[in-house]
Symmetry: C3
Subunit: 305 residues, 3 copies
C-alpha cells in the first residue's frame, strides 16, 4: 500500500500542476453516459418497434411512448441544465436556467414528429439508392446510415438552440458506432443517403441540398489555416446543391466551394474549387499507368512483389 500512496501523491500533484485536462470543482458538465442512454431512447421514439427487443402492438404504443417521453424529458432536461450552467446564454438570468432547460427540452421533443418526416425521406433514398438493399426493413434494421443520420438530425435541433457540448457528444457516439462523422452544425436536406458510411466526414458549416448521395470516405471539409481563431463560426465547409452524387474517397474543401446541382464527383477526387451544375469531375485517364510485372522497371520494383 506504500507504493500506492506514493503513486497517488505524484499523480495528485500532477492534477494540481498540469491544468486544463482535469475537471475538479468545476461546473458539472453533461454526462457522456447519460447522453448516450438518452440518444438511444430518442432512437426508440423515432423508430418504434425497430430498436426494441420485442415488437410493439398498436394497443400499447400510446402507453409505451408516454412512459419513454416522460423519462427522456426528465433526463434530457438535467443534461441541458448542466450545459446551460456551463455556457449560459448571455440573455438569460442565471436563476432562470432550470426553467429555460425545461422549455428547451419540451421544444426539442416537440420536433420529433417533424424529424420523423424528414427521416422517412432518408429511408426512401437509402432503399432507392442501393441495389444491395433487399427491403426497407433491411435498411432500418441493419444500415449504420439510419443511426448516423437520425442522431445528426436530433443533434442539429439542439445545435440550433445553442445548447453546448450535448450535440457533439451525441454525434460522436454515432461516429464511434458508424465511422461517419456528421457534425451537428451541418445543414442537411431531405432524401439524404450515405452508403457504407465509414470515414465520411461532414463539417460544421456544410450545407447539403435535397437528394444528395454520398459514399464512404467522402470529406466535406475546411481548408486548414494557421488563423484558426478567426475561422470559428465562419462558413468553412462546402455547399452541395441538390441531386449531387459523390463517390468514395472524394475530398471537397472550403467554405466558398459550391458543387452545382446535379453534379457527380468521381472517387478519390481532391477538389478545392466550385463546379457548375451538372458537372462530372473525374481524373484524366493518363494519370494511371498499367505495367506488366515481367517488364517492370525501378519504379514498379518499389512495390517489391
Amino acid at each position: 500500500m506504500e507504493t500506492v500512496t506514493q503513486l497517488t501523491n505524484e499523480l495528485v500533484a500532477s492534477y494540481a500542476r498540469v491544468g486544463g485536462i482535469n475537471h475538479l470543482d468545476g461546473k458539472n458538465l453533461p454526462s457522456n453516459h447519460a447522453i448516450t442512454a438518452i440518444t438511444q431512447d430518442l432512437l426508440r421514439l423515432l423508430f418504434p418497434g425497430f430498436f426494441d427487443d420485442k415488437p410493439i402492438h398498436s394497443s400499447e404504443i400510446k402507453v409505451i411512448t408516454a412512459e419513454l417521453l416522460d423519462s427522456v424529458l426528465g433526463a434530457l432536461e438535467d443534461e441541458i441544465y448542466k450545459a446551460l450552467e456551463y455556457n449560459p446564454p448571455p440573455e438569460l438570468p442565471k436563476k432562470n436556467l432550470r426553467s429555460a432547460a425545461h422549455g428547451l427540452t419540451v421544444e426539442f421533443l416537440d420536433s420529433l414528429p417533424r424529424l420523423r418526416e424528414v427521416l422517412q425521406t432518408d429511408m426512401v433514398a437509402a432503399y432507392d439508392g442501393d441495389p444491395a438493399a433487399k427491403s426497407k426493413e433491411e435498411v432500418l434494421v441493419s444500415y449504420p446510415f439510419v443511426e448516423a443520420i437520425a442522431v445528426q438530425r436530433l443533434a442539429h435541433e439542439l445545435y440550433l438552440k445553442n445548447v453546448a457540448l450535448i450535440p457533439r457528444i451525441m454525434t460522436e457516439w454515432a461516429h464511434s458506432r458508424t465511422g461517419m462523422d456528421l457534425h451537428p452544425g451541418a445543414q442537411i436536406g431531405s432524401h439524404f443517403f450515405v452508403d457504407h458510411c465509414t470515414g465520411t466526414v461532414v463539417g460544421e458549416t456544410a450545407i447539403i441540398g435535397d437528394h444528395v448521395k454520398l459514399y464512404h470516405g467522402v470529406t466535406l471539409g475546411a481548408k486548414s489555416t494557421s488563423a484558426v481563431e478567426q475561422l470559428r463560426g465562419k462558413k468553412r465547409h462546402p455547399t452541395i446543391e441538390d441531386r449531387v452524387t459523390i463517390y468514395p474517397g472524394a475530398t471537397i474543401l472550403g467554405g466558398d466551394t459550391v458543387i452545382g446541382a446535379g453534379s457527380t464527383i468521381g472517387g478519390n477526387v481532391f477538389l478545392m474549387e466550385s463546379v457548375a451544375p451538372n458537372s462530372i469531375v473525374i481524373y484524366d485517364a493518363p494519370r494511371m499507368r498499367v505495367l506488366n510485372k515481367s517488364d517492370r522497371k525501378k519504379k514498379a520494383a518499389d512495390f517489391q512483389i
Copy 2:
C-alpha cells in the same frame, strides 16, 4: 404530465401518418440484440479459449461446447423462424416454417468445422502478411480482421440459404466494431487478409480468389446508376483473382471489372476497368507537384500555411 400527454399524442399521430419507418403490428422481425449475442457465441465456438474470459482445458471442452451449441441452436432457430416468417421461401408451406427454421439452423451449425478450416488459412495469411505481427496469438487476440472475416464467413452461410435480414445484421455488427463492411453475399477465397480494416468495403456480388491481400480503405464497389431496381441481384462488384494485393484507398468498381491474378493495385487508384494478370497499376509520377513554400504561388497559398 400534461406536456408529456401532448407530446405523446403528436408523436403517436405521426406514427400513424408517416408510414414505413415504424413497425407496429407487423411481422416479428429478427432482434438485433439477440443476433449480436448469438454472433458472439458463434465466435467462441469458432475460436475456443480466445473469446472467453478464462482459458479452457481439454478436459472440459466437450461439455462447454455442447452447452454453448445447445444454447445457440435454440436462440438462432428462433431468429431464423422470424426471418422465414418475414420473408417465407416460396416453396415452403407456411405451417412448416418452424421445422424449416430448425433444419436450417442445424445445417448452419454443421458448417462450423468447415469454416474453421478456411479461417485457419486466413490466420496464416494475416501472420505471414504483416511484419508487425509478433505472433499468431497476437493476431487472434487483437486483430479486428479476425472478427470481421469470421462474421462474414458465418453470415455468408446464412446468405446462401436465403435467410433474410440476419446475415446483414451480423456483418453490420462487425462493421460497427471493425470499420470494415464485408457484405454477407461476397464470395471470398482462402488465405484472405485485410490489414487495419477501417473503411474497406466489399460489395454483395464481389468475388475474391485465394491469397488476396487488401489494406484499409479499399472499395470493391458498384458503379452507381439511376436504374437501381434493375440491378438488384445482378453482378455489380468486381472479381479479384488469386494472389492480388490492393493498397490503401484504392477503389475498384463494376461487375465486369476483373483484376487478373497476381496483380498489384497501388494506393488511392480509382479503377473501373479490367487489368490483365500480373499487372501493376500505379499513378504516373508527374501528376504530383512538390513545391517549396518560399516559392509558393497562388495555388500553393490555398493551403494557407
Copy 3:
C-alpha cells in the same frame, strides 16, 4: 439433444484437427475483457472528472485516486504476469516472473504524471487546430482523438518494456471505438492532433515529431513485400518531422521516407519518397477533368447518371 451431441463431436474433432486457432491447455493469455476494463480505469486516472459519471471535488480526489490506483495495480499486474509467462524475457529466471510483473506495473503507473504532461500538449493542439472546437471541454468530452492518443501513449510505455500482447490489445480497443489505428510502437512527439480520426493508420516504426497535425484517412505505412520475415523489427514506416500537416486520405509509405519539417502533404497524395523541409506536395491541376453532362462522351457515361 442428439443433434447437439453430433454437432459437438464434429466441432471438438475439428478443434483437435485444425491447430493454431484454438488455445487449449496453452498458456493463460492476457484477457481482452480485463485489459479493456483496465484501460478505461487508466483513462479515468489520466483525466479525472471527465470519464466519471459525476464531477469530482478536490476534497475527495486523493481517496478516489488511491482506490483506483490500487485496483488498477492489482488487475494490470495479473495481466502483465500472463504476458510475461506467455513470452518470458530471456534474461529473467522463470520463478521471478511475479515480482517482475509487479515491478513493471509500478514503473508503468509511475509514468502517468509524465504522460499527463504530454497529453496536455495534445489537447492544446486539438483546440488550437480545429475551428469547430467551441471549448477545451468540448475537445475532452467528445473528441475521439483524446481517447485514441491517450491509449496509444499508455500502450507505448508497455511496448517499450517489451510486454507482449497487452499494448496491441489496448490500441485495438481504441481503434474499434475511434476508427484510428495507432500502433503502440509508434514514437509520437508533443502537440499531436488528428482531426476526425476515422481510417488513419500509423505503423509500428513510424516516428512523428512535435506539432504534427493529421486528418482522417491518413496512412503512415510500410511498403508491402514478400520478405515479411526479414522485415519484422526493422524500420518500415515513415518519419514525419516537426510542424508537418497531412491532409485527409494521404498515404505515405516506407521506412526511409522522411517528410521534412514544416511540410504540407495534400489530400489523397500517395507518396513513397522523402521530401525536403518546407515542401508542399499536391496534385497537378490537369489531372482532373470537369465535364458538362450534356457533352458527355463514353468515359463520362460510365457513371451512368
